[in-house]
Amino acid sequence: MKYCKLCLQPDTRPNTVFTNEGLCPACHYYEESKKIDWQERYEILLDLIPSISRAPGQHFDCIIGVSGGKDSTRQAVWVREKLGLKPLLVCLSHPPQQVSQLGVDNISNLINMGFDVVLSSPAPQTWRDLMRDSFFKFANWARSSELALFSSVPQLAIRYKIPLIFWGENPALQIGDLSTMGRNGYDGNNLRYSNTLSSGHAWMVESGFNLNSILPYIYPTHEEFDSSRIQIVFLGWFIGDWGLVNNASYACPVGLGIRSEGPEETGDLYGLSNLDEDWHNMNQMVKYLKFGFGKVTEYVNEELRSGAINRSTAIDLVERYDGKCSEKYIRSFCEFIRISQDEFWAHIKRFMNRDLFEIDSTGNIQKKFKVGVGL
Amino acid sequence: MGIVDYGIGNHASVMHSLRDIGFRVRVGSEIDVLNDVDVLLLPGVGAYPTAMKALHQHGLVGYLQDQARAQRPIIGICLGMQLLASASHELQYTDGLDLIPGKVVPLTEPKWHIGWNTIECVQRDSLLWPSDGQAFYFNHSFAYQGPPEYQVCVSRHLTTLSSVIRRGKVVGLQFHPEKSQAAGRILLKNVVFGLAHA
């Protein structure tokens, strides 16, 4: 297990390759991005806009997938007020049992800011059963919901005849998921190959769900993309100050609400992420147990790159809070997918990375590595 | 577009049709109003003698004849088309505007032409060609007869009768394009644009 020279990113994330100077892809991108001429990129975007043709009778220029969180709120406002375009916002909403009050308030905030929003929400029981299957098959309950989230935007773009989709960050650049690299930095049409989507919906059919009950989870095919001339553009490529803290600092002044719990409960340093439901925090803990890094690592990595904090403070924060998840989220999750907490932990431990973690005599999980050093 | 108003019949349908297509429309019988438009239109409601009397009263007969000579586009619809001819036998013999030589005679067998009938272009005319074979709404019991050179389209109803006549920039339509739905809209647009930009 090796750490990035500049930040605290371990080399355990799938589809990522460190540079030979020992920099993780995100740091490499950050170093490279210092040389980017953002004005030139902005002009590329301005040149792109006139080519946007509205289908006859259609008055939207583009579609933006939103959860009501910091990234989407920032994007929506920037596209409307900076680029002068008229976006249709699309929100794939968790079922009533899972969506948080903060989440629905943030979507309401977007609507009351004058955006047109289509909110789609899949059948709650099917959603829960898929979550359960996803949890037991991938130890990641969100594999099915992520598929619905990623599919909802192109599905609606095709049905509403709005070919231009704005997406947030390019996973290939910002977080090192190289499989989604398109023709250039902002082409997002290979998003279908990102690791969250790569498993597709075949496993759902195999575990007994017939097609017409999982329609929201089916990502449109290449042919459907091409016949509707769909083009996904990563806005992250054009916005130089894109980041966790920055996006929140743009979104909060226009009404975004953030979490009030501290990192010891959420494993989220400032409570800026996963605003629309609680169980992603628990998922971060599972990710931590698989790969040895969680949400706090992501925060400190950003701040290490921008020099906002030094390495020792960062290591201390990661040591103290990374992978933390309050027991109340685990209880509510287990209640929702109807399993006992023992079953939960038994399953998690099966997916735990034995090289990085071990179970001590009292049954608790201890990490075997030292943050910033490795094993 | 200027609709020549000879005081009888309402022009709502023609006006709506023209405005739907995108033209600006003025209605009037005063020369200064009619001078201010690109294309003049003679609407199609009422009896021949009363219409000619009204045109005379407003001093429009001479005016229209001058405009025709000056290659001003003029379109006549149904009765308006018949007014373009030299004379008509409707009710009593009446002299027309004589912009297109020929006369208007009562239909005999059958005595009227009512309903949707197709038009066949007998001359290559770019304004009318796109409407060849389309159906339009006819509602008349008198018809134009004149030299074949002015006959652009005909329609068959036991006999053959002139559905479109043209001489220079003066065009006569025996049917009602403003009552012929999409086909009428298309033809009216082609004819007006064609005349105004020719």
């Binding site: 006859p56 009778g57 | 009888i8 019949g9 309402n10 709502a12 349908s13 006006m15 709506h16 049709s17 405005r19 739907d20 409601v45 009896a47 009710l91 005595k111 009227w112 032409h113 009512i114 309903g115 949707w116 009938n117 197709t118 796109p130 409407s131 159906a135 709404y137 509602n139 008349h140 019991s141 008198f142 068959r156 109803h157 009602h176 403003e178 009552k179 012929s180 739905q181 999409a182 009428g184 809209r185 298309i186 647009k189 082609n190």
Partner: protein, 261 residues
Amino acid sequence: MLKKRLVGVVTVKDGWAVQSFGYKRYLPLGRPECLIENLDRWGADEILVQVIDRSVDCQIPDFELLERIARLGLETPLIYGGGIRSVHDGVRAIQFGADRLVVDSIAHDDPCIVRGLSEQLGAQAIIAALPLSLHSGRIEWLDYRRRCATPIPEDILSLLETGVASETLIIDWTNEGYPEAFQVDLVKMFPLSAVPLIAFGGISASRQMIELLSFSNVAAIAVGNFLSYREHAVQEFKKALAGMSLRPPVYESTLPGLTDA
């Protein structure tokens, strides 16, 4: 060549568009202008607006309604019927935007008015309405105001023979509004074979229309109630009448660039 026609009928009573059943039972439908505008969009070949409470209590034609219709800027020929008592009434109705007129009780009460109208406006603008029924094999005419059925009066037949009216509207009034009820014998046994007919009353199925349109003297089919139950009712009928020389069905598209050639 001349097309046969499908005429949409809007029956108006006390200012309301209504469904009418056998000239005596009515159900409310809505605003006459809304039904008329809808038939225009659907591409009916003609729209017949019949105002039925005028003839009974001798009021004048509903010029106010005609004016409201004119403001819609219709692209479909409009036929008006109801309350035409004089040549002046008829001419005014045309000036208010009607293309043709239906005369009903006046044809019997005062035929010379019908002749006057025909001279003023041309026979093509005049349609004579005959509410008929079959009694033991004989055709009877309904005197609407005195509510009794008698053989068709000779004066009406002779009036029609002179070609004063371009077409005759045969109304099977007892079957009006009832499905597949129109009695074809009213057309087969109609005394004047040369007079073009419009069949109306109880025509709900394309099978009936095909049979009726195959008669050379049937120029048009008129439908009222049965256009109010489905979207695109006119187009659906026209689709089923593909071979019968009617104008093809039209489905409006408001997108720019599609309508002009």
